[in-house]
């Protein structure tokens, strides 16, 4: 596959993830969509680095994956806490941060 095709896949993944973040109401579905967006970005980074021969970019992608895992751990913990309260896994109901 060529670099433009890979970048096209990455932007498709990002858009799907963005749609999921904006449109899904369940917290876990939103977390999954965020993962999708992360991976799209990682894919784009690796693609550009690989096509230009920059190894540093590939290493950066590895770091990105590690950070994503940590972030997911925090996110899941939050969702678990929210789910202890009845019916509070829907993002629309977690609106205490209003002004």
């Amino acid at each position: 596959m060529t670099a433009p095709a890979l970048l096209l896949v990455a932007s498709a993944l990002f858009s799907i993830g963005l749609f999921g973040v904006l449109a899904r109401r369940h917290a876990i579905a939103v977390l999954l969509s965020i993962e999708l967006m992360f991976n799209a970005v990682n894919l784009a980074v690796v693609t550009v680095a690989w096509s230009r021969g920059w190894l540093a970019g590939v290493v950066l992608a590895l770091f990105g994956i590690a950070i994503t895992v940590a972030e997911i751990a925090v996110g899941l913990a939050l969702v678990l806490l929210a789910s202890r309260m009845p019916g509070r896994v829907l993002l629309d109901e977690l609106s205490e941060l209003d002004g």
Binding site: L91, L94, S95, L97, D98
Partner: protein
Amino acid sequence: MLPLALTVLAGPLGALALIGLVPPLRRSGRPAAFVAIAGTAVALMAAAALAAPFVTAAPPAPAAFELVWMPLGTVPAIPFGLLVDGLSASMAVLVALVALLVQVYSLAYMAGEPPSSLGRYFAYHALFAFAMLGLVLAHNLLQTYVCWELVGLGSYLLIGFWFDRPAAGRAALKAFWTTRLGDVGFALGIVVLWSAAGTFTFAELFAKASSGAIAGGALTLGMLGIYAGAMGKSAQAPLHVWLPDAMEGPTPVSALIHAATMVAAGVYLMIRVAPLLALTPAVAEAVFAIGVATALLGASMALVERDLKRILAHSTVSQLGFMMAAVGSGGAAAAYFHLLTHGFFKALLFLAAGSLIHAFHTNDIFSMGRAVRAMPVTSACFAAGALALAGILPASGFFSKDEVLAAVLAGGHPVGFAILVGTAALTAFYIGRALLIALVGAGSGASREAHDPPPAMTAPMLVLAVPALAFGIAGPTVSRLVAAPEEHAPVVVPILGTLAALGGAAAAWVAFRRGALEIRARGPLAPLIRALERRWYLDAPFEWGYRVLHAGVFRGIAWLDRYVVDGAVNALAWGTWGAAGRLRAIQNGRVQDALYAVAAGLVLLAWLAWGA
């Protein structure tokens, strides 16, 4: 000299600050009074020490102290300063002395007031004393103007002291408005002189004017403006209408402000700028003519008045006319001498009148009577003041009026001289009338138990009686204070003056010796008497003017303020409120709504970066 001059101002100012800033002191009444009296006493002692060197045979040179108050870039800065010369130092003594005596007198006269009002009263007194002393010691026109307005404020507050009386409120407003009318001219005059000469300071103005550095037209215009201010304060016709109404204030206030000091401020200012007046003959001519007219007008209105205080107020108007006539004909020293003696004897007359009013509970001279036996001290003091006012020989008024008449004659005004001699006869007549009816006559109040007031009231009167009778010998000293050459009047002047005074007094004796006798508005003189009782119908135009202003301009301004100025502010407030109500709906706390905004922003940024 500077520390002394500052002490003169610091005394009353300290008292004002203490009474004004410590509410428990103000509400306590008499302690506040003692604070004010102490402040004035300090001012009096400092002023006396300040004036003492100037009455010696070898007076020191005038001293001026100056601080930069307001730097103005390229043009000279506005200074703040004190001018100590014979004129200002001796005037400060008069102001502080009369203020002190009046405050002591007020202790007894106002004893019936509730403590908090009494504190307010003495706070006003301290304010007035400070402003008046500042006016006297000012060394430039702008500072004079500032103190001038403060003095007007003090007068307004004290006339309206009994603000629950509608008449007092109206009188205070009328006094304020009428003097403001003149003050507009004063402000314009200061600006004209400043733009022509580039300075506010008296000494620099005199130097520039005498060297011809100020254009003649500008000088005349500026002096006219300053005279307009003096007209308002010193109750010159036709701006005299406020002074009789100002008698609504407490009597000691009338003695201090509306007889001895504030109303003399206009004359004092004209004496101060006499070197400029000498260069503007047209203005001097106007000062003289209006002065003579005012003298006659005031004396004529006093002839038929029934209210004792108003008789004295009309008399003050008339005497101020005498002083202005002297200033206008080049006799600043004579005017100043008359200012001083008038300060003493008119304050004395007012204090004696206050004690009569206190005893008889009325202002109407026809409701008083037989006070001579019941109130010997008061009667003697009133008689001493009347003697001085009428200008009968041993009393001080004789000497000063003599000098005024001589100055008018020397200034080349024989007609004005004749009118003033006639006015002197009227003066003796009206004060003789008041004295005979109120003290000797058997009015309706005569049978009532009247007695002399407590010592706090008699002592100030007795102190004032001394200069009222004996200050005449100080004539040469006063000339030296103003640095004027001593002039010897033709001997005909004192003879004519005495004849006029004795003639007026004799006429009063013939007409009123049997006591209460009303002048009936009948016979050929009836229209004249009615006109006099209505004060020459001069109040009506002012009332009409005020009403027109009120109905037209002020309502318009009020409407503009309420609906346009306030409206703009309110519209802004309501607009913000409404917009906020709508905008806060955005902040609903839903993460995904915020993310929509982020995504839209992202798209916008991308479009800006690459698309456009």
